[in-house]
Amino acid sequence: MAIEILMPALSPTMEAGTLAKWLVAEGDKVNSGDILAEIETDKATMEFEAVDEGIIGKLLIAEGTANVAVNSAIAVLLDEGESLSYAASPAPVASAAAQTASEPTTAAQAPITVQVVEHDLPVGTAFKSLTVREAIREAMSEEMRSDETVYLMGEEVAEYQGAYKISQGMLDEFGPKRVIDTPITEHGFAGIAVGAAFGGLKPVVEFMTFNFAMQAMDHIINSAAKTLYMSGGQMGAPMVFRGPNGAAARVGAQHSQDYAAWYAHVPGLKVVMPYSADDAKGLLKSAIRDPNPVIFLENEILYGQSFQVPDLPDYTVPLGKARIWREGNDITLVSFGIGMKYALETADQLAEMGVSAEVIDLRCLRPLDTDTVVNSVKKTNRCVTIEEGFPVCSIGSHISSVLMHEAFDYLDGPVITCTGKDVPMPYAANLEKLALVTTAEVMTAAKSVLYR
């Protein structure tokens, strides 16, 4: 019986990958455990092993093909003596599978009708398409080129080339003195980085995920955030703690939490949570230059998404300023990070109903640009907030409180906070979906405050 060998999923968020290299040829005999191919995922290049034994009857995908969808057939394995009657059908190699594979990614990005307001750029600025991952790497590399005291430390940032490939190539450019692999000891290396910041360096600490930063919390809060105050202004910790935050996909309760509200609670920290690649780049450059400890919350699912980024030698975005993605008059949608995806999708759907939504990306949660939100709500008289974190003491509940104080008389409906559910993240696919905030929920909230 011929067996189809399928494109494997090699990371929690992988939907498609590149078939980098075949290590077997048609007619080769393979045993289980033999390496069949090298597959490049969104995180790394990995070897793919045979599970069954047999003869490689046909390679269906040419090596070098990008965007091969997970679960699509990439080769046919035959029993000994079996002929290749199967091979007749999927003849033309590369493209067919690749086309279908690329759909989910483009589909996810396409409908967002970006109408960028507030870009303060020189006339004639060119744009280039960058993924969020590339934007973060560019920001770090540019700052490291211009300032010797900036260095990167974290788990797998150097020789592994980054657990999420953020720091890919940086070891080659900057060497092991400035791109430093740490042991898996967050408490210790976060403390060492704080000491290094006291001592005159500007560390960028990568947490493999902010879930692991829980072990480093004491140094982030007690050592980094409070020292400037406790020392009467004599010394502080100019540094960045960055890494993916929030849910990825199917990684369970201990790897899926959004810590935005936790860090935003603490005076002495600045907290940034970008959505787009241009903001990720511009804000990270500002964060590295900032003389305070900055928490920079990224999102694994956004890493691979592309956005237009100004092609400037030194593009920065100031911390503490919200961004209006769409102007509108009927309702204000306030979000940040991956929540912006739901906010923008909701705005599209509302537009189809003839409702004009103003969409605000907070980008920075501390300092929080409440003026932009309050001014918007004074115009629209309605507000829905969207985030993936837990509902109790969320960013949304703080925004809601600010609006009570500063725009009470302007509100024509309650402020509704759309959040993740008040449960630890479940593993089962259906329950995980249920635990996260959805565009449908945001639509329901928006319609209810619009009384429609």
Binding site: P183, T185, G191, A196, D218, Y229, M230, G232, Q234, D290
Partner: protein, 332 residues
């Protein structure tokens, strides 16, 4: 093994007088702080250093200009020993604007960039990776400096200490880990809290050399400090000094001292006191007279009294200080 007391020979008179003066300053300062605490002028926690004076005075004698130090909340002695002003320290204890942190840090949180004193940390063990981080910066900048990271026998059971030992050894950081073993982790004796009798030996697991030192002998501390500093400064990585000392007072001012006997404390005071030791050396070596020492005592008393007066007179911080120093402003 505790190192032998240093020989009395060839010790310059000036050095001994300096150590005597420095240790006495710390003791008198701390006694005054205890008194002001009793009067309600100092609030919150106040951890006195009385009994442990030879540790910081001996190690400061081994340090060079520009070397760094970081410690826990029992920090008054470290600050005085590295040259910070008694007035500024005492005024911080009373929470006044003339304090090193303008009254916003308190007993446990003082800093001096000028004297390379990096705190003053209130979370047990947290100063250990911070100290290694200071050393990391020095190595990165190639400036030849060494950092002293002080911590107690209690902190020596913290996980982050061993995470730090590992990285300091891996990266050859120029840091002296100074375990001030005063035998009590708050109120729990070393025997009841710590699995090893010789804590410095734990460094062996990481390839970090170390030694135990008689912390009641300032000359022994200085000698061990010089060995440690030379090791670190010549690029050999970290070094551990376990300095066996003793705290005469409670863990903090509110310590009921039920965990040890009055006799135990008294015995050490009488037989091992570090200040008496130097005093004996000075007198038996005929380096100075009782009268000379009395004059020093008088000077110190004046410095301490002045600091107490300053700390009482210095105004409380202005109310708008509540909102300053939360964020540093970027340089233009």
């Amino acid at each position: 093994m505790v190192a032998k007391r240093a020989s009395k020979a060839n010790i310059a008179k000036d050095n001994l007088l300096h150590y005597y003066r420095e240790m006495l300053l710390i003791r008198r300062f701390e006694e005054k702080a205890g008194q002001l605490y009793g009067m309600g002028l100092i609030g919150g926690f106040c951890h006195l250093y009385i009994g442990q004076e030879a540790v910081v005075v001996g190690l400061e004698a081994a340090a060079e200009k520009g070397d760094k130090r970081v410690t826990s909340y029992r920090d008054h002695g470290h600050m005085l020993a590295c040259g910070m002003e008694a007035n500024g320290v005492m005024a911080e204890l009373t929470g006044r604007s003339g304090g090193y942190s303008k009254g916003k840090g308190g007993s446990m949180h003082m800093f001096s960039k000028e004297k390379h004193f990096y705190g003053g940390h209130g979370i047990v063990g947290a100063q250990v990776p911070i100290g290694a981080g200071l050393a990391f910066a020095d190595k990165y900048l190639g400036n030849g400096r060494v950092t002293f990271a002080y911590f107690g026998d209690g902190a020596a059971n913290q996980g982050q200490v061993y995470e730090t030992f590992n990285m300091a050894a891996l990266w050859d950081l120029p840091v002296v880990f100074v375990i001030e073993n005063n035998q009590y982790a708050m109120g729990t004796s070393q025997q009841r809290s710590t699995s090893s009798a010789e804590i410095y030996e734990r460094g062996r697991a990481f390839g970090i050399p170390g030694e135990a030192v008689d912390g009641m002998d300032v000359l022994a501390v200085k000698a061990a400090g010089e060995t440690a500093v030379a090791h670190c400064r010549s690029g050999n990585g970290p070094y551990i000094l376990e300095i066996k000392t003793y705290r005469y007072r409670g863990h903090s001012m509110s310590d009921p001292a039920k965990y040890r006997t009055r006799e135990e404390v008294q015995k050490i005071r009488e037989e091992k006191d570090a200040i008496e030791h130097v005093r004996d050396l000075l007198l038996t070596g005929k380096h100075c007279t009782e009268e000379d020492l009395k004059a020093i005592d008088k000077d110190i008393k004046a410095v301490v009294n002045e600091s107490a007066e300053f700390a009482k007179q210095s105004p409380e911080p202005a109310l708008d200080e509540l909102w300053t120093d939360i964020y540093a402003q970027a340089e233009a």
